[in-house]
């Protein structure tokens, strides 16, 4: 456990070095958030009754999403890992006395966390001061906020576990391009990355909320604003735990298979 933790720390500190890139990310994410809010405002003005969340909750959803984008976006994967598999450098990793699944998991978490830490504060800082209902609202209470933190951590773990599946599959396809496109488009849709899940019609929404993709950003972002509360929130967080266990188990199994089958290329 200790070696994975120090690996996490190493990667985390390394990730913190990319500050100029982080500023560009902050500006990009901020503009993106403003555009999304303008879009939802237009729909809100068209028919406030048809809005499934309050405008405040929607705005908070968008700002938290933009601030913690690095946590929740499945398409943010590591080229270094893909390159290692493709070039055969993964052989060096296989030689080490570690479980490669755990090491890459720690690495994904570290990279995502360092990116988020560098980017979230300026975005949150500005979003708090935007006029209601377009800014980031305070959570309804400290209990909700605690629940949000738990749910966000779970969401991050689910995302990382899901990405591990893609890395694992790359052992078999070698070229990651197809896998990345296939998954990132589907996940964005089902996770509520573009349009929050409550905006989808009843039956589809009920189905989407059960899928592992809803356990990524949908739960924490809605818990924060109080849109998801009480028993529904408890059930959603339970589902997060369930999917995390399933995805992690599937990932370990896939890596077990992949390491057996891995063809080391190059020399």
């Amino acid at each position: 456990m200790k070696k994975y933790f120090s690996f996490f720390r190493l990667r985390f500190v390394m990730g913190l070095q990319y500050r100029a890139a982080a500023w560009a990310g902050v500006v990009t994410q901020f503009v993106w958030g403003v555009m999304e809010i303008l879009m939802f405002r237009a729909f809100y003005e068209a028919d406030p009754q048809a809005f499934p969340m309050s405008m405040e909750a929607t705005a908070s959803y968008i700002w938290m999403q933009q601030a913690f984008l690095a946590f929740f976006m499945v398409w943010f994967m590591e080229n270094e890992i893909f390159d290692a598999i493709r070039s055969g450098n993964v052989a060096y990793e296989l030689c080490r006395p570690i479980r490669i699944y755990h090491m890459w998991f720690a690495r994904s978490l570290a990279n995502r966390t360092s990116r988020a830490v560098l980017r979230c504060f300026p975005i949150l800082g500005i979003a708090v001061f935007l006029p209601r209902p377009y800014g980031l609202c305070a959570p309804p209470g400290w209990r909700v906020f605690l629940l949000y933190l738990v749910s966000m951590a779970l969401g991050l773990l689910v995302v990382a576990a899901f990405c591990m599946l893609i890395y694992g599959l790359t052992f078999f396809t070698v070229s990651p391009d197809g896998l990345r496109i296939l998954f990132s488009s589907a996940v964005d849709f089902f996770a509520g990355a573009v349009i929050p899940i409550p905006f989808f019609p009843g039956k589809l929404r009920a189905l989407m909320e059960l899928l592992p993709f809803a356990a990524m950003q949908n739960v924490p972002l809605r818990v924060y604003s109080g849109d998801l509360a009480g028993e529904a929130a408890a059930r959603a967080i339970g589902l997060q735990v369930f999917w995390l266990a399933v995805l992690a188990a599937a990932g370990e199994w896939l890596f077990w298979l992949g390491e057996r089958k891995a063809l080391i290329q190059g020399g």
Binding site: A21, F43, L179, F199, P201
Partner: protein, 270 residues
């Protein structure tokens, strides 16, 4: 170099397709990946389309635009973007070329640098995207309920021309900026991917100030909002037909910036 040798050279456009042919053959080495790319491509368009569809099932109209009208706007914009991406997305990986110093190799070859950079990379996804954009375009045009007159058909053609040029210009600017800085270029995504994402709705949806920006600074509105008004019959002035062509002029400053960058280029790497 001129004279006889010149006539033996492959013309630029054939060289470009030759480059693409090489990339295609290398992509086909990974069959499973290719298959998933194809399915994934289908899903991408599918998802964006359904998001639009579900939003309109709930809201019916936005800022006076109905579902079919927004669909037309979305499909034209998507085709513009996909066409530009098809030709000019090779600039996307240009930062790598500058960082590693491989741009030197490009400069010593007796062909246009732009052409070589364009041919330096090619993803199959681009063909998938252009196909799906075409399908959506046909669907959008049929569903739009627009009465097609020759003037309106011409407007759509001009929109496609202007929009493609505009996005090519943006990709070119992205590449040109690599000469000055290699960091923080992520911001350019707002202008390219962001425009595709948010350009599915007519720009007036986002409010007056954004419309002003999209008219004067980066002329998205010239290829999207204003000609759309003409297509939908909300304005009658024939001047609107030719507005999208103005956006082609965006290529001039983009190219000048590129030239400036090439002149300033100092090699790095080994």
């Amino acid at each position: 170099m001129r004279g006889k040798r010149d006539s033996e050279r492959m013309p630029g456009i054939r060289l470009y397709f030759h480059y693409i042919g090489i990339h295609l053959r290398s992509i086909m080495q990974y069959k499973a990946s290719f298959l998933m790319t194809a399915v994934g491509q289908f899903l991408v368009s599918f998802c964006v389309f359904w998001e639009l569809y579900f939003m309109f099932r709930r809201f019916h109209e936005v800022k006076g635009f109905t579902y079919s009208q927004v669909l037309l706007c979305f499909s034209v914009m998507l085709l513009e973007f996909s066409l530009a991406e098809m030709f000019a997305r090779g600039f996307d990986s240009f930062s790598g070329m500058v960082r590693e110093g491989t741009f030197d190799r490009v400069l010593v070859r007796p062909r246009s640098a732009v052409l070589q950079v364009l041919g330096s990379r090619f993803e199959l996804t681009r063909i998938g995207r252009i196909l799906q954009a075409l399908v959506l375009f046909v669907y959008g045009v049929r569903e739009s309920g627009v009465e097609w007159t020759p003037a309106r058909v011409l407007t759509v053609i001009f929109m496609l021309l202007g929009g493609t040029a505009l996005f090519c210009g943006l990709f070119l600017i992205y590449a040109a900026l690599c000469f000055f800085t290699l960091e923080g270029l992520e911001f350019m995504n707002v202008f390219t991917d962001g425009a595709r994402e948010f350009g599915k709705y007519p720009l007036s949806v986002y409010g007056k100030r954004l419309l002003q920006f999209a008219t004067c600074i980066v002329p998205y509105a010239l290829v999207q909002y204003y000609p759309l008004l003409y297509l939908l019959g909300r304005v009658k002035a024939p001047g609107y037909i030719f507005l999208p062509l103005l956006a082609v002029l965006f290529l001039v400053p983009s190219y000048l910036l590129w030239r400036l960058g090439v002149r300033k280029y100092q090699s790095s790497g080994s």
